[in-house]
Amino acid sequence: MRNLWTMLTATRGKTRLHWTDWVSYGYLIMGIFLMFGPVLWLVLSSFKTEAALERFPPTLLPYTQQTVAVEGYDDPLPLFKMTAGEYEGRTLAQLRRVGLQAQMIDPAKPDERLRVSINDREPLEEIYLATENYTSLFERFNFLRFFWNSTFITVTATALMLLVNSMAAFALSKYEFRGRTAVLLIVIGTLMIPQTVVLVPLFLVVTELGMFNSLWGVIIPGAATPTGVFLLRQYMITIPDEILDAARMDRASEWKIFWRIIVPLSAPAIAVLAILAIMWRWNDFLWPLIVLTRSENFTLQLALNSFQGELQTDWSSLLAMTVLTLLPIATVFMFLQKYIATGIASTGGK
């Protein structure tokens, strides 16, 4: 503990912390609380039983009331600890509650029925992870279907986007041809046309191509992105032309040069773009909302949104589903956060 404190308070070169350092660390620690806290609360809540979720004020950890199986009763009976009255200190099981009174029995002597006031007792609780919140998703909803739809869209769209964008970036960085500037301007031009402002005509185009209510209607329209082309082009420009010339001397075809030389050498930039694409596609909402209207085509995001309307009170399923939706992205983030950060900083977003 002492060592930890020395480590935390030690500064490079300076002997002790200035008051501004204290303010800075205070701000950052508040940041941890505010940024991680809500997500942590969601995860903790998703393991609570329906009864624990309704409790107010809520408990931090998921608790459930202990029960006991008593001979002669089909269902397990809830256990209470008596805090006052005649039976103080004893642990009793409740048979039924009538108003402010409850009929209880001692699990050891099930024949004798005791009458107690409900104010004299406290429920006996234990920590319990309600994993049935998660398992019921697979039984009650078409959860695997939504998960598959999201995964299929994300994987296919990312692969397609990487291929199409890197081909275009290759042409724009390694060939001298008439009209190159014009093409670059066209690519910049598409920056000004976000999906949100062409929803109606895009819907017509997609419908006419027979992709309405098809996963391809979500995959294909977003496959060409100006961000991707620029990101890859900036990287490919730095690859020396001599390598290409050497390959041409060896009679390699242009496609082979692209596939065998340019793509492997651009791997860092392609990886960054791949991460961004996975993130965009997994989290995509508005366009899938318009194209996919049948529930068997829903992505996880759409399913989550439509269920929050239908299951207003069924928070236990909703919370579990939210956790499963953020899990893949959170995992990717944990392993690749450094690349994500540099990727986003270098592209300036979408």
Partner: protein, 322 residues
């Protein structure tokens, strides 16, 4: 992993080689560009043209050929207002409410978010321990999907949620936040700032780190106060990055839809209905589906975005040249 694709690439090589022989090496560039350009054409440029056509037609048929030409009537409908400052006096009051809501939202959200991002970036740029960790703490919510962000906060803010429990405990007392128009709006701004500020913090931090250290050392020699150093050195040298951040967040702010739609559904009433939601509801969610009106409203948004994007490209020109 790439080995899996090798057979596929071999197959593509056959037609590409044939094309290379016919066209020559330089013209092959167009072949490489083709898939991308076709996609841009079909899903970006063609829709822009179609959007103009749609905005001048009426009815609820999606096929353009079956839609009656109405000229500027859709725009007239949107602009039919006694007093532009008061949505109640407008024929299409929902449109104007959405416009005003969006304007207020963008002003507040961008202002607060850029302020906090700048503060966070400056603190992260100090000589602190575990910078990488703290940076990812603030960046983490950027990765969450809008629906997840909305549900996380809905769960916290619900009547029997943890925030109300805390407020009860302190004696202030809880509140049914999302039923109150003003609070729903305020919380929408909050969750939007929460979800996106990490992204702008990252860009600003990169900008701060690009400022040479010796400038600060010189300021220290001259015994400049921290505030003066900030005003006279940090802010001017950071202003290009700050401009990029400002314009980028404006562009995204105008298009806010997902998280607020999942959070409040645009309500209570129309308190948090923004312009993209208006377009979505006119064109896709309601009956009859007023594609013409939605397209006309899209053009209004597109105009604003084109302006902002031009400013962005101008602000970014140094980065593009480099």
């Amino acid at each position: 992993m790439l080995q899996i694709l090798t057979p596929l690439m071999r197959i593509i090589e056959i037609p590409m080689l044939a094309l290379q022989r016919r066209l020559g090496v330089n013209k092959l560039a167009w072949v490489f560009l083709m898939p991308n350009l076709v996609l841009f054409g079909l899903f970006a440029f063609l829709p822009v043209l179609l959007n103009v056509a749609y905005s001048m037609t009426g009815g609820d048929n999606v096929l353009l050929g079956d839609r009656p030409y109405v000229g500027g009537r859709n725009f007239g409908l949107l602009a039919e207002c006694d007093n532009f400052l008061d949505p109640n006096s407008c024929r299409e009051d929902k449109f104007w409410r959405a416009i005003w809501n969006t304007s207020w939202f963008v002003t507040l959200q961008v202002g607060i978010m850029v302020g906090f991002s700048l503060l966070t970036a400056i603190i992260l740029n100090r000589d602190i321990r575990a910078r990488g960790f703290f940076r990812s703490v603030f960046f983490f919510p950027v990765l969450l999907s809008p629906v997840v962000v909305a549900l996380i906060w809905k769960w916290i803010l619900q009547r029997h949620g943890v925030l109300n429990a805390f407020l009860d405990w302190t004696g202030i007392g809880g509140y049914n936040w999302l039923v109150d128009a003003q609070w729903a709006f305020a919380w929408s701004v909050f969750i939007s700032v929460w979800a996106h500020m990490g992204f702008y913090t990252l860009i600003l931090l990169a900008g701060l780190q690009a400022i040479p250290r010796d400038v600060y050392e010189a300021a220290l020699m001259d015994r400049a106060s921290p505030w003066r150093t900030f005003r006279r050195i940090t802010l001017p040298l950071l202003s290009p990055t700050l401009l990029v951040v400002l314009v980028l967040s404006l562009i995204k702010g105008v298009q806010t839809f997902d998280e607020v739609y999942a959070f409040t559904g645009g309500g209570p009433g129309t308190a948090t209905t923004f312009i993209i939601q208006y377009i979505y509801e006119e064109g896709f969610a309601g009956a009859p589906r007023l594609f013409g009106l939605a397209a006309a409203a899209s053009l209004v948004v597109a105009g604003v975005l084109v302006l902002l994007t031009l400013v962005q490209l101008w602000a970014n020109r140094k980065n593009v040249d480099a």
